[in-house]
Symmetry: C2
Subunit: 482 residues, 2 copies
């Protein structure tokens, strides 16, 4: 890069190198249960209809100032991340954590990968599940953050508080650094409500977990304040395998300290700056936030799906299919999904997280797993279940296939209702078109592939005395599950 | 019958001829939506778990003092009535109204059929959907009513009010006729709440639609006060067809005046007597009543099915399958079914009827039809539906069969998951056992029969561009639907 004299051009005019977004895909979003589940978390669920928050995040990064994002996710979500990115046509680099180690490890990982591209690259760290509708304002903030970062600052993007929330940490700005930018005076942990109001009066901002730094500067700060994280992550990268663009980190990742980037670095570095970007923002963190972001009628009622409301006020009513009828209620969140229904006061939306923990402790599988189960090849959902049978709807994506498998306790009937499937059954290979079916007797070795260009959809009828997912012997698998 | 001298035995000791119960199966119970639907009404739904109210009514009539009940029902419910009676082993005589004409026509019909058995038979008219847990107390009341009836009285069984309800008419007792029996002073229409309280203070009873009379005496009173009803019903009986024990009335039934037995006869006859039977009673008329009849915890919460409640009070929570979670609500009825969910304050339970009318006006099929559709041969339920396919679970009762049929727009795959089915497919006859399947191409003439002793259960996968129930050509049918 040409060095521009301060006399010839201000920093504002300096051309910026592309910004590498680092999207952190951790978090379970259990406050948005039952739509969000640990095994299919908020960032991947179409919470606000249409695209998922992760997909909206990718779409926000479509402008020319951004390079291909680095997405840090759990190994279990690899195919979900890849498929959702492909759906919106986004090219991404995926880094898969063998286990979640909080944000320090994730940010370190992103910084290391960015530095491999270019040590002086600008990294913009962001969660995958936040809503920022104004893309232009977001891009302007990203530019401003990048300018500060290019000066060696470790920048945190602050959010202008809209209420004395107890759900976020706060940032106290110090000396000004330019338009809307300040040295960070200090970080304040999630406060009580009264304290939150005082902080807001004092001009503090919310900490929404968005950071910006030059890769080399960020790594220097991490090195200085949390050297173990760098060591663990670099070892895990050396041990990594995976396909191009999807790095599966090695076991050394587990040696990274389980701590947030805020605690480990931001609160300790002398280079912290805060930018008040001024875009509208929501972390759509609970049903109250979803309600607030939804279109509401004159009585404060937001609906999604098939809802019939009569004499209802200040409520969020959502159905994923069934007809949801509410009469004479006020201030409720009612959320209906294929296998679970929630009814709770919208003002107690923050308590859903605890409820889900209780559900899980009580052994309810719905706490963690959604009705629709995502697999590397697509998804399945149990639509009916009897004493000795189970009916699934199964979708296999183009070019994908099951493992080569057999079952000890069940026979299966497959009826193709959309697309064309190639079926291996012992020594046969069959091509099944729409409206054709095949019988897979107990014990036969079988596999379904989708050789076509559109998804294959089948109805599977299983019969047998034992119909759980663990009755499967895999002989060969494209996704390493043998 | 021997005439007993009043000097030798009091009326109390007189042996009674068997009482013929007349069970009126009309009514849609729309206040108990979404569990009760017009096409599968309250009396046939296991509202309180286990047996349906109709079945509980039959079970209450198992004592030796009762003859085989006459069940007056709609033609559409014939097989449901017969199947539910068979399930509890009750022998009944069914009389099917071509259309509902209120209770005068139904009571007249029952009186005519009872008189065919024996003109001096005692008829005990009762709704099919009331709850009377104490069978001994009910039998004692039936005996007492029969004694009054044998003296020529037209008896109404009064219910001791438990609250100033506005949902029932009231009966003012007059001069005493013996233990707990009185001449009826007058009938009072459903009152306002304040008036209801006054009526209760004045010793009035609820009118629950239970009557008792000698068949000939009842017919004489109907003749005197509503002769058109007798004419219409007798003509409809002359025109009737149907199987033994299931009389399908002719079209003349429509000429019966649409009026209640109360208005047409009870309020006019000079022979009206009221008996205060003193048994606990509920018409389980809305969700509040169901809640009141259910076992509740210390905070007033009654649950049915898979329910997880935390910090909930005074509520009725019911799930027919899904996991229903409620947090922090008070005084709600939450009712979840396969295709519809209701959330409403329990104190506004009476308004559900109006809500259902609105749903129907808005074109929501769930207002009227349940997910599980009953047919003469059993039932089916749609379990999954896609753009060009539909999956049903179908149960065919022993000895029953579909019509011989074909479809213009869909092919079907049948997988037998329980029992043994005989399948006709054009010129073939196939015997399908558990775990066997058959393909029925578009346009083929087919039929499924259950030749066995247990129900046949199949999963049907339909494929095609048009998948509604009206794509059916019937060539032959056991149930008169050709």
């Amino acid at each position: 890069m040409t060095h521009l004299s301060p006399l010839r051009a201000t920093l504002q005019d300096q051309p910026l190198r592309p910004i590498i977004p680092a999207i952190l895909c951790g978090g379970s979003g259990s406050r948005l249960w039952p739509v969000s589940r640990k095994d299919f978390a908020k960032q991947h669920v179409p919470i606000l209809g249409g695209a998922s928050p992760f997909q909206r995040t990718l779409q926000r990064l479509g402008g020319g100032i951004f390079a291909a994002p680095i997405v840090v996710s759990s190994a279990a979500s690899e195919f979900l991340v890849a498929d959702q990115a492909a759906e919106v046509g986004a090219a991404i680099e995926i880094a898969l954590e063998p286990e979640g180690r909080d944000t320090l490890a994730a940010v370190t990982l992103a910084a290391c990968l960015a530095a491999r591209r270019d040590p002086s690259a600008i990294v913009l760290v962001m969660p995958s599940d936040h809503l920022i509708p104004d893309v232009a304002a977001f891009e302007a903030a990203a530019r401003a953050a990048a300018r500060l970062a290019s000066e060696g600052r470790i920048v945190v993007l602050g959010i202008a508080p809209t209420e004395p929330s107890t759900a976020y940490g706060y940032i106290a700005p110090g000396a000004p650094l330019g338009t809307g930018a300040y040295v960070v005076d200090r970080f304040i942990e999630k406060p009580e409500a009264a304290r939150a109001a005082e902080l807001i009066d004092a001009g503090c901002l919310w900490n929404a977990g968005m950071f910006c730094f030059r890769a080399d500067a960020g790594l220097r700060e991490i090195e200085a304040h949390a050297p173990q994280a760098i060591l663990a992550v670099q070892r895990a990268i050396d041990e990594a395998d995976g396909e191009p663009g999807a790095l599966r980190l090695g076991e050394s990742f587990a040696a990274a300290p389980r701590i947030s980037f805020d605690h480990a670095v931001m609160e300790r570095t002398t280079r912290a700056a805060v930018l008040a970007p001024g875009f509208a923002w929501s972390d759509i963190g609970d049903w109250k936030a979803v309600w607030a972001e939804s279109r509401r009628d004159g009585r404060g009622v937001a609906t999604e799906g098939r809802v019939f409301a009569r004499d209802v006020a200040n409520s969020y009513l959502r159905s994923d299919g069934r007809l949801l009828c509410a009469l004479g209620v006020d201030g409720l969140a009612i959320v209906d999904t294929a296998d679970a229904v929630l009814v709770a006061p919208i003002e107690r939306a923050q308590e859903i997280k605890g409820l889900v923990a209780e559900l899980e402790a009580a052994g309810h599988g719905e706490a963690r797993s959604p009705a629709r189960v995502h697999r590397p090849w697509g998804w399945f959902q149990t639509m009916d279940r009897g004493e000795r049978f189970r009916v699934k709807r199964i979708v296999v994506l183009p070019g994908k296939r099951f493992s080569l498998q057999k079952h000890h306790h069940r026979a299966e009937h497959w009826v193709v209702v959309r697309g064309t499937a190639e079926v291996v059954r012992d020594d046969e290979v069959l091509l099944l078109r729409e409206n054709e079916s095949v019988y897979l007797p107990l014990g036969c070795v079988h596999r379904l592939s989708n050789p076509g260009r559109i998804p294959v959809e089948i109805v599977e009828v299983q019969t047998g005395a034992y119909l759980e997912e663990d009755d499967i012997v895999r002989f060969e698998d494209d996704y390493g599950r043998v």
